[in-house]
């Protein structure tokens, strides 16, 4: 079975950005074909029952129905032109929403491929360690699996549902959900036990306990999310809708109550000729509806839901699944970011940076001993010691004493002492060098390297006395944020002695300091979470440029920190993957679980990062902000547009009665009909023109609130005032060329 990645590779200048790309939020490009594909949906959405959710556009539709009636009763070119454009206004609004939804639908279709009907092997009566035969195997359809069922999945089979591995280890192809083709390891116990339905086991066999109810798998939820099927309005969207509804009511009032005043005025100037806009019955229905549609905030009303859907979509493009729109908005509001040191701020592992000898020992000797002691240490730190010794001192790997090959020519067995959590050190016991006759020559040598306290104890236990100097070096390295590993040796018959110290350093990812400076300008405090001791933590915090750090952090500390921040009214975002992160993830306002993490973590968080890249939290915040800014900018633009429309429509309506009002016709529009039509057409076209902006989101660069406001106010406020003057004038020039309108 081949499953293509859910998420097409980012294209069109949309780097799935890490810190290196500067983290600018980009958006998707609008393919004109998408518009065409969305058309049928746009027509379907004309159904008033669907449109009910969008009161502003519902009013436009009611107006369009009304003018259609009027145009049928009294067919003039003007009436039909207005009617057609009113219908187009509604259609364009539907189109915006349909296009936004269409992108999600494409993704959902790919996901569904993964969710094909699979047959599961259910084990009844299975218990850990049970021998085959002690339980019953039966084949059932994956859709029938319930929470708690245990299934067996073997190489080549598709995992039938979300669950935890309870026995075995296997490599799993998760490209169906992550788009990442490299297989991952899933094993029972620990933080890598969660498996997702629809992914495929490549090797070995595992027993999985299902943790989902039918129809509620991760893929089901993903499909729901990207399709926007059960999209609920987010808190800020609800608030904005209330404001738009209030504005709509006010304009409705302003237009409806105008009629008695117009009749009175027309009666007063009885000699004034009737026009297409006004006669003795007052303002004509066509013009009144036109005025209303131009005034109510149709632009933002049309694009509001598209903006919301597109915001979620932008997250999906970055392989982040938000379980609710609320979380996306909250991301924009975040005041405090909790970032795990390892993997987010620093490269995954510490690396040896220096060998510091004690007096009477050369650095080369330390390097040599350290390398020996690390040969059996397969941890990344251990390997980095070997590499540093080779690079800095030309010591070949696997080289033993006096240039002899390790293990060769000894009088006895050499023994590796691997690192364990209990001893906290590793090393090697070298047998005495062999003499020609095979007897021992010289002393047996034992070398150790490890945590300072552990190694120093070992030295003391073997009759040595670590000098104060060692303590000073260790403290110096710790104080500088490094991790000291003490190297010691013990020759048979002599007291053990310390040789020196290996300086392990955390390597801060490049570009992080700039990123945190940006965060600070955005008003976001960054807190580094680490298990290191406070001095080490402080040094790294200083180097990376975070605002604060939490050292020696336990899951409880994390939770307490989040509570404390929230107590102060701040919103907190964090990432996590382990089961012990779950409480903190649940408590945080934005909790991003890594896809590699446990089911518990994924359930607790409100977003899942399929790439399992903790740095992405920063991008999520930017996307949240961009979503809100897009809404605010288009609302401002929409309201600012009304000014120009008034200058078009009011003189068009009333200059026939009171010629002095022609002074308001500052655009010098050619005729009342063309002025009104131009305003209506502009009002409709601006929706289509702004669809790409709504889907892409306005350009966002991390900066202070003042800077953002100034920029957006000029662009969308002043732009919103000026643009329609220009647009309506141009449209009027075009319309005046059409015979029968003016």
């Amino acid at each position: 079975m081949t499953v293509s990645p859910v998420v097409p590779a980012p294209s069109g200048g949309l780097p799935s950005s890490g810190p290196a790309s500067g983290g600018r939020v980009g958006g998707g490009l609008l393919d004109p074909r998408q518009l065409v594909r969305a058309l049928p949906d746009a027509f379907r959405k004309l159904n008033p029952v669907t449109l009910w959710r969008n009161p502003v556009m519902l009013i436009v539709e009611v107006g369009a129905v009304f003018t259609t009636g009027l145009a049928v009763a009294d067919p003039t070119g003007f009436a039909w032109a207005i009617t057609v454009w009113l219908w187009l206004t509604v259609l364009f609004a539907n189109l915006a929403e349909a296009v936004a939804e269409g992108r999600g639908k494409a993704q959902a279709a790919t996901l569904r491929q993964a969710k094909r009907d699979t047959v599961a092997t259910r084990l009844t009566g299975w218990s850990p360690g049970a021998r085959p035969g002690a339980y019953r195997e039966e084949a059932v359809a994956a859709a029938e699996l319930r929470h708690g069922d245990v299934v067996l999945v073997e190489a080549g089979q598709v995992i039938p549902g979300d669950g935890d591995v309870v026995e075995g280890i296997a490599s799993v192809d998760e490209s169906a959900i992550t788009g990442e083709s490299a297989p991952v390891i899933r094993e029972s116990g620990g933080d890598r036990s969660a498996v997702t339905g629809g992914t495929k086991v490549l090797s070995d066999r595992i027993v999985v306990r299902i943790t989902q109810q039918p129809g509620q798998s991760f893929i089901d939820r993903m499909i729901g999310l990207v399709e926007g099927a059960n999209r609920q309005k987010t808190p800020n969207e609800i608030a904005l809708n209330i404001l738009l509804a209030a504005l709509t009511v006010i304009f409705l009032m302003a237009v409806v109550t105008l009629q008695p005043l117009a009749i009175f005025s027309k009666g007063f100037q009885g000699a004034a000729p009737d026009t297409a806009a006004i006669n003795s019955d007052g303002v004509t229905g066509i013009v009144l509806v036109s005025l209303l549609v131009c005034l109510i905030p149709t632009t933002i009303g049309a694009l509001l839901s598209a903006i919301g859907i597109a915001g979620m979509d932008r997250l999906v493009q970055r392989n982040v699944l938000a379980m609710s729109g609320r979380a996306v908005e909250a991301a924009g509001d975040v005041n405090t970011l909790l970032l795990d040191k390892t993997g987010t701020i620093t490269l995954g592992n510490r690396q040896a940076a220096e060998f510091v000898p004690v007096d009477g020992v050369t650095a080369e000797q330390v390097a040599d001993a350290a390398q020996l002691a690390s040969l059996a240490d397969e941890t990344p730190e251990g390997r980095s010691v070997v590499v540093l010794a080779k690079n800095a001192y030309g010591l070949r790997e696997r080289s033993g004493l006096a240039g002899s090959d390790f293990g060769a020519g000894r009088s006895g067995e050499d023994r590796n002492v691997p690192f364990t959590a209990q001893t906290r050190m590793s090393g090697v016991d070298l047998a005495p060098e062999a003499t020609v006759d095979g007897g021992p020559s010289g002393a047996a040598r034992r070398v150790r390297k490890g945590a300072a306290a552990a190694v120093m104890k070992w030295v003391r236990d073997n009759g040595g006395h670590p000098t104060d100097q060692v303590g000073d070096i260790v403290d110096g390295i710790s104080g500088g944020g490094g991790t000291p590993l003490v190297v010691a040796e013990h020759l048979d018959g002599e007291p053990a002695r310390t040789l020196g110290v290996i300086h392990l350093k955390d390597v801060v990812k490049s570009g992080m300091r700039e990123r945190f400076d940006e965060m600070r300008r955005m008003g976001i405090r960054t807190v580094m979470i680490t298990g290191d001791n406070p001095r080490t933590a402080k040094a790294i915090a200083d180097e990376a440029g975070v605002d604060d750090f939490l050292a020696e952090a336990t899951p409880e500390d994390k939770l307490a920190l989040i509570r404390r921040e929230q107590e102060g009214g701040r919103l907190v975002a964090m990432t996590g993957d382990g089961t012990n992160d779950a409480p903190a993830l649940a408590q945080a306002d934005v909790g991003v679980a890594m896809n590699t993490g446990t089911t518990a973590a994924k359930e607790a968080g409100n977003m899942v990062d399929l790439d399992s890249d903790p740095t992405k939290l920063i991008e999520i915040v930017e996307i949240g902000k961009q979503l809100l800014i897009t809404r605010g900018a288009l609302t401002t633009f929409s309201i600012a547009n009304d000014i120009a429309k008034y200058f078009a429509i009011i003189p068009a309506m009333f200059a026939g009665i009171y010629p002095s009002l022609d002074a308001l016709n500052i655009m010098r529009l050619s005729s009342p009909e063309s002025a009104i039509l131009a305003a209506v057409v502009f009002n409709a076209i601006v929706i289509v023109v702004l669809i790409p902006l709504a889907l892409r989101g306005v350009r966002y660069r991390p900066s202070s609130a003042s800077t953002l406001l100034t920029r957006n106010l000029w662009l969308y406020g002043l732009g919103g005032i000026v643009a329609p003057f220009v647009g309506i004038k141009i449209l009027d020039l075009l319309i005046s060329l059409i015979p029968g309108i003016s």
Partner: protein, 551 residues
Amino acid sequence: MSTTTAGIILVASLAVVLTAVYKPFGDYLYRVVAGTRHSRVERGIYRLIGVDAKAEQSWGTYARSVLAFSLISLLFLYAFLRLQDRLWLSLGFDAVPDHIAWNTAVSFVTNTNWQAYSGESTMGHLVQMAGLAVQNFVSAAVGIAVAVALVRGFARSRTDQLGNFWVDLVRIALRVLLPIAVLGTIVLMIGGVVQNLSGGTDVTTVAGGTQTITGGPVASQEVIKELGTNGGGFYNANSSHPFENPTTWTNWFELLLILVIPFSLPRVFGRMVGQNRQGYAIVAVMAILAIVSVTLTNVFELTGDGAVPQAVGAAMEGKEARFGVSNSATFAAVTTLTSTGAVNSFHDSFTPLGGMMPLVNMMLGEVAPGGVGAGLYGMLILAVITVFVAGLMVGRTPEYVGKKIGAREIKFASLYFLITPMLVLIGTAAAFATGNNSTALNVGPHGLTEVLYAFTSASNNNGSAFAGITVNTPWWDTALGLCMLLGRFLPIIFVLGLAGALARQRPVPASAGTLPTHRPLFVGMLAGVTVILVALTFLPALALGPLAEGL
């Protein structure tokens, strides 16, 4: 000294004095509403009305207290007016007819002071003093109390307690309004405003006719009329009457009384939320709008075209010679920028655009600086709406002085903002649809302005009369009474609801990502939003009225 120079000196000297008292008087107001000690008189009052001064109220209780108090005031005043002929000092006047009594009772309880009657020929001294003047005090105190409750909503966190209405009411009346009123009365008496209980003096005029000159407790009522931004004159001619406002300096002093509380209340806001700069920002918006409006009114009046104004140098029709054009124009602007509704000239006689300015001032929602209390809460509501749109543009859930503006908050703010325009527009349309506009003296655009002005004034609780329209018919009394009542108490309920929603919240600490609401950019934006929202709502109506006439 030219009229223009005089006008500039008038405005500039007021601005200087208001600037000087902003801090000390604002701080005094803050201490009055934030203090915890009660004087002996106050304790006596609390015992009398059975109020536990220490107990605080939720927004619902606070609102019910406001409504209950206002309802009792309304019923009491109505009965008072209806029973006038049986009480002392009635000067022989009859009971006030029912529709006028209803209209007047509503008018004074709502701090509107729309007068469908002529004071000196309808009301006796007792009704003027114990009925109308008392409402001048308490309706003003109610407005300030509600504003303070809203500010508490911003200032407090995680509580439903907004203070105690009865304590606020008593303190504001006793510690702020009463002392200033006493001092102001003396100043006005020195300035020549009458203060007696005379039943009227018959005099023989120069032409040989006889005239009854009504005296009365004018100075004491005049002072609270201005201080409480009420505007209900003792005389029908209001502040153009020489017994109410004899000289240009009493005119100046009355303007100061009108402006001093509304312009100082933002200080209370700043103090209570712990950021004085927020108060400065609000007062700056008020000042900018006020200065622009006063300037435009003066320009329109001084440069008004038409044969007569040009012949005499300016539009003097309907203006007192002792005040001149500029003092009249400024007085018209100031009384409508606040909710005072006093007049010292006849707005109906202003140039079309000059007459439009008072109308627009009221349409702004009377927020620059607005009525006592009402101006502050009106402006804060506009600030909430501005923050909502602007806040989105900085990429955060909008917040104002640390409080998030979410669905609940924007709901109350929107409802508040809806009420008055709806009342104005529906009322005006109803008058034309039912033919009740026929009581206007004029036809055409000017007649339309007269009707529009009446509903704008009543719905915004201003009480300013454009004149040129007869409004003491039952239809007008009822319609305007409803506008006043709904235009006062529905917004108050929404303001208190907003206060309740805000007080529940935990404040969000400010950061670099927070929209700064004390900078010039925000001040300009708030002023812009105020003007644009009003322009968008009322432009069609204005086009058929003053604009048709004046352009």
